[in-house]
Amino acid sequence: MAFLINCPNCGRRNPYEFTFGGECKHAPGQGADMKAWCEYLFFYENMPGFQDEWWYHAMGCGEWIKIRRNIATHEIVEV
């Protein structure tokens, strides 16, 4: 496995137990134009560094958790 995720409910677990939910994006507020919504839907930062992201512990507690992971080195700093 590439790294371990410290699930607050289940402890340090294999990432293949989780479903990856992608980077945390912030929905544009009400009244935002269509371009902002399209960017929110289709576009990603995709930065080789730390990013906040969602993971769903499908084979564990069944909770969505938010972690801060470096996607270039797989170092996780915050769960």
């Binding site: 989780f18 990856f20 371009k35 930065m47």
Partner: protein, 395 residues
């Protein structure tokens, strides 16, 4: 026999060029080749920060086929597949094009029905596709277990006779050598750190070898495309996800076709050398790290042994992974990005290798004429802003 003269001379970049291509992979080199050969562009540089073919060009599974469903993109893939045929002669370099045929297995009746639908779309676009029964499959691939034993038995297959393999390193060096003959400067170890923009127009690039002025800049950077986006303050609709591949030890020839299972996400072929290349799905999460994991390798091994039981004790000798920049609609991004003089050829996910000749041809046409060629119009970046992504059902 080793040759005594150099196949290719790498250059130091000059101060200015007509066209600067970022990325010395297959797409970048192909674009440079078609620009120099068919559009008579004289001063072209291909800048590569590591070595040519470091990224996806050297990490793919060498499969060429035309397997998409969306009707607007099928002519593009069909042309690309056909272009491989004459390429060895054109580049004067044996690309080892071997159109051995691809068998895509179906494991259930609904899947077979979906496959028939797919085949109909592809036939309408003029692509040769046949459906096979388990008995026919068994005759073509005797080592495949078509019995009821696997948990998901084989109920049929789609046969794509024009699909096959091309040696990716041969293709890379074929294009690189042809570029060298046409006077394209291929500069390795030159990393682009920024794109210069003046008055809404790309005017050059900053590199670790100093600034280079350019009439036009073209980005063909494979999995690293979001870095280009950050240089120009844009986001791209891509997530970078690795794909792992492994190969086995060399065996005597037993597998004449490329065998794939779209449902179980595995595919395998026996190369001319005799080793099996085992490919699979994209990894389960986003990453910029070329790692390989036990879980993915075990998954490939399990599936291959499930359908080829004779391979149970074959050893795996190597595994590697490559970065794929994937869009939500399984189609690439080509053409302009709103800045004059800067064109993109990115987001190829894991269907970049087979598209090399056509993407090079049409990228070159776009750069030379500033007009979007008809065949790549569906790939424009604007489709995401117009809420008109390519209606593709194949990942």
């Amino acid at each position: 026999m080793a040759t005594t003269h150099k196949l290719l001379q790498f250059k130091q970049p000059a101060k200015s060029y007509d066209v600067v291509i970022i990325g010395g992979g297959l797409h970048g080199l192909a674009t440079a080749y078609y620009l120099a050969r068919y559009h008579q562009v004289k001063r072209i540089a291909v800048l590569e920060r590591r070595y040519i073919g470091y990224g996806g060009s050297g990490r793919n599974t060498e499969m060429v086929r035309s397997n998409k469903r969306a009707h607007e993109t099928l002519p593009f893939y069909k042309e690309s597949l056909a272009m491989w045929d004459g390429l060895s002669a054109e580049l004067e370099w044996n690309l080892m094009v071997q159109k051995k045929g691809i068998i895509a297995l179906a494991h259930s009746d609904p899947e077979l029905a979906a496959m028939r639908m797919l085949s109909d779309s592809q036939r309408r676009a003029g692509i040769k596709i046949d459906m096979l029964s388990p008995d026919e499959i068994k005759k073509m691939v005797p080592s495949l277990d078509t019995s009821d034993r696997p948990a998901l038995p084989i109920v049929g297959a789609q046969y794509h006779p024009e699909g096959g393999t091309v040696h990716h390193d041969a293709a890379l060096w074929g294009y690189a050598k042809a570029c060298g003959r046409l006077g394209v400067d291929i500069c390795v170890g030159v990393e682009v750190t920024g794109i210069r923009i003046g008055e809404g127009r790309a005017t050059g690039v900053d590199t670790n070898a100093g600034p280079i002025a350019a009439g036009k800049v073209h980005a063909a950077v494979g999995g690293y495309s979001s870095e280009i986006g950050r240089m120009i303050g844009m986001k791209f609709p891509v997530q970078t996800i690795p794909m792992q591949v492994m190969t086995t030890e060399v065996m005597k020839p037993f597998l004449d076709y490329y065998v794939a299972s779209p449902r179980l996400h595995f595919y395998t072929q026996q190369t001319l050398k005799g080793d099996l290349i085992l490919g699979g799905p994209l990894d389960a999460f986003q990453s910029w790290n070329s790692y390989t994991t036990w879980e993915e390798s075990a998954d490939r091994a399990f599936k291959i042994v499930e359908y080829f039981p004779d391979l149970a004790h074959v050893r795996v000798v190597r595994s590697w992974s490559g970065l794929c920049d994937c869009t939500g609609d399984s189609a690439p991004v080509m053409g302009g990005c709103g800045i004059d003089g800067l064109s993109l050829d990115i987001a190829w996910g894991y269907y970049g290798f087979k598209s090399t000749p056509a993407s090079g041809k049409y990228s070159a046409e776009y750069i030379a004429t500033d007009r979007m060629p008809e065949k790549i119009k569906p790939f424009a970046l604007e489709r995401f802003y117009n809420r008109q992504p390519v209606r593709e059902i194949i990942l």
